[in-house]
Each structure stands twice: as structure tokens, then as C-alpha cells.
Amino acid sequence: MATPAAAPFQFPPTYNFPPFFTPQPNTNTREAQLQKWSSLIQAWCRHHRQYRLSLVEAVDSPLFHNAALRKRLDLREARSVIDWMTKSEEEGGGGRRAEWIDGSGGSQGPKAVAWVWWRRPEEWADVVADWVEGTGQKGAVLTVYELLQGEATESQEFYGMDNEAMMKTLNILVKRGKAQVFGSEGQEGVKFF
């Protein structure tokens, strides 16, 4: 899933600012810090076409570990950043840009892996719906595999998307009455309306 992109990821200037890696005591500063972390994580995942972020893996990756500064965000701190991201803006969070995946951590316990929604499923739904509209495939039956790996979607942003993320996206389209998912598990098809 994390296909290495040709161009290296461009870290924002704050990444080279040591206090960025320490929880800020001042509420306002903390808020700004979380905001910056949130956009950094989103940008990172977008760059690497990553939909799930495993914290245990990520704390050793350049994302949370600045080798040049010898600074890192530890697991606990990374968790609180993701926690903040999962909350909606009304709750004083980061606009639900992340979502914990229950029971995915296995032995690592809860809050080990999270979705990082650099595009929320609702936004993905719009992207997919636009593509369906633009290619005249309303009323057509497509397999989910075709959507994710087909030759027709190769140029699309959702090409190679996480299967589960795509299912979430499709379910939003189903709720909107724009699609119907059917077929047996692992062989799902979708019909667009």
C-alpha cells in the first residue's frame, strides 16, 4: 500500500523546530502544535498513499522520528495527536481526520492503528461519484477490485486505495442512494445510479 513515491516527502519547516516534538503546556500553542502535526500526518499519508497508520511502525519512521534533530514523538504522544485528530472540530479536535481501527492492533492493544483521512470517506465518495459521472458509468456494474486495480481507474486518485477504505466510501454512496453494493464478501460489486 505504501508504494514509495518518486519524489521524497517534503517536510514542513516546523519539522526542524525542536519544540515541535515536545507537548506544549500553553493551550493555544498546544492547539497550533496539534494542528501542525495533523496536517503533517495527513500530508505524509497522502504522499505515501497510505490510508492506515500503524503507530508502532510510524514512531520509528521519519514521520515521528527526526533523525537529524535526534527528536521523536513517542508512542504515547503520537497517540494523543491521533486522538485529537479523531475528534470533530466542535469537540475541539482536528475535524475527524483520523479514526481508530478497533481490534486491529492485536497484541498491541487498542489505539494501535488508525485511519488517516487525508480525504474523508465523504470526500472520497464525491471523487468516486464524479468519476462515475464523468465516465458515463451510471447504471453499470463494477467490481470493487476493478475500481481499485482496474486499468480504467489507473489515473484516478483512488487507484490502489485500501479496500476497506473504499468499502467505507461506497457505503456512503449507498446511503446517499447513489450506489448499491452487492455480491459475496471479497467479491463485492457495485452498481452506480
Binding site: 477490485y145 486495480q149 452487492f182
Partner: protein, 216 residues
């Protein structure tokens, strides 16, 4: 999903298409796997050659050849599957077209029925023709009545009008002449000596000439 209530939208054809497409996807995955395998066999053959193990290298290449033949077969089957999937989809489109045509025909039929068919139209046209002929007859009859009864009156009125137009012309000179003063028709040459001025003379002659014209 919890949206089973709207599942009737999915027809059995949709399911059939999905099955076909799933088969196609499986074949595609299979092809991918074989491609990886053949790549690996080439790799193995190279490694064996590097180790001077000619027999195993040949074996690997043979396996590769066999897998490549499988790949060819897969491609053929894939083409067939895709062909049938698009045929099914096209047939569905055709069905829609047929449905549209059928509906259109039915609407046309209903409209024609409302018009009462060809006989109805013919009858209507005949009736229109009859009514028009009848109307013509009536107006002709009315015209005839007019000539008999009123033609003389009309003619008289016309004459009266003509008289009215003509009379003033005749009456005018009669009424106008008594009022006019007696024109000095004669005895003009006498005052010639007193009025010597030459410019007046042409005016006089002019009045002279005008008078007879008026009288006439």
C-alpha cells in the same frame, strides 16, 4: 450495509454481470501471479547459470515456458470473458431501447385511437366538406334574395348618390353668375390713354382672358 430494502434495484442481470466481472478479475490476478512467477524463473535460471548448474537452469526455463503458455491461454480466456461481459451489457442497452420503442409505439397508438382512426378522420373531413358546401349554399341563397328584393333599392340609392355628386357642378355656375358683377366685357379701349404705364397692361389682359374662362 443495512440497506437491503433498496436491493431490488439490483437485478439478476446485474448479478450475472458481476459474476462475469469477478471471473475476469480473478483471471487478471492469476495473470499477475504468473507474470511474477515467470520473472522469478528467469531469475532462478540466471542464478543457476552463474553457479554453472546448466540442468537446473534449463528446468527453470522450461517451467517459465510452460507458465508463459498458460499466460497466453489466460489472455485468450480473459478476452472471451470481457467480450461476453460487454455483450451482456450491450444486450441490456438494447433491451432498454426496445422498451423505449415499445412505449413510444403504445403512446402513438393511444393518440391515434383518440383521433378515431383513418375512418374517423375521413368521416370528419367529409363532414367538414359537407358543412362547407351547406354554408356556401346558404350564402348563395341569401345573395339571391338580396338581388330580388333590394337590388332596385340599391340601384336607386346609387343613382341618388351619383346625382348628389353631379348636381353641385351644374348648380354652381347658375347661382354664381347672378351674384357676380357685370364684367366689363366691352368699352375697354377708351381708358387706354390715361393709363399709360406699360406694366399694368399685361395684368388687364390677363383678367380679360380669365373671365371667359370662368364663364365657360
Amino acid at each position: 450495509m443495512g440497506n437491503t430494502s433498496s436491493s431490488p434495484k439490483i437485478s439478476s442481470q446485474d448479478r450475472a454481470i458481476l459474476d462475469l466481472k469477478n471471473q475476469r478479475d480473478k483471471l487478471k490476478q492469476y495473470r499477475k501471479r504468473i507474470t511474477v512467477l515467470t520473472d522469478r524463473e528467469t531469475q532462478i535460471a540466471k542464478e543457476c547459470l552463474a553457479q554453472n548448474d546448466r540442468r537446473r537452469a534449463l528446468l527453470a526455463l522450461r517451467r517459465k515456458k510452460y507458465q508463459e503458455s498458460l499466460l497466453d491461454k489466460t489472455d485468450g480466456q480473459l478476452a472471451q470473458l470481457e467480450q461476453i461481459a460487454s455483450q451482456v451489457e450491450f444486450a441490456l442497452v438494447q433491451k432498454d431501447v426496445m422498451f423505449g420503442l415499445q412505449q413510444g409505439t403504445e403512446v402513438l397508438k393511444a393518440i391515434n385511437k383518440e383521433m378515431g382512426g383513418i375512418e374517423g378522420v375521413e368521416r370528419l373531413m367529409g363532414e367538414t366538406e359537407d358543412a362547407r358546401a351547406y354554408q356556401e349554399e346558404i350564402s348563395q341563397m341569401l345573395e339571391g334574395n338580396l338581388t330580388n328584393q333590394d337590388e332596385e333599392d340599391v340601384e336607386e340609392e346609387l343613382l341618388a348618390l351619383q346625382r348628389q355628386v353631379a348636381e353641385p357642378k351644374v348648380a354652381e355656375p347658375k347661382v354664381a353668375t347672378p351674384n357676380l358683377p357685370n364684367a366689363p366685357n366691352n368699352a375697354l379701349p377708351a381708358p387706354e390713354e390715361t393709363e399709360v404705364e406699360t406694366p399694368e397692361e399685361p395684368t388687364r389682359t390677363k383678367t380679360k382672358t380669365r373671365m371667359p374662362a370662368l364663364a365657360a
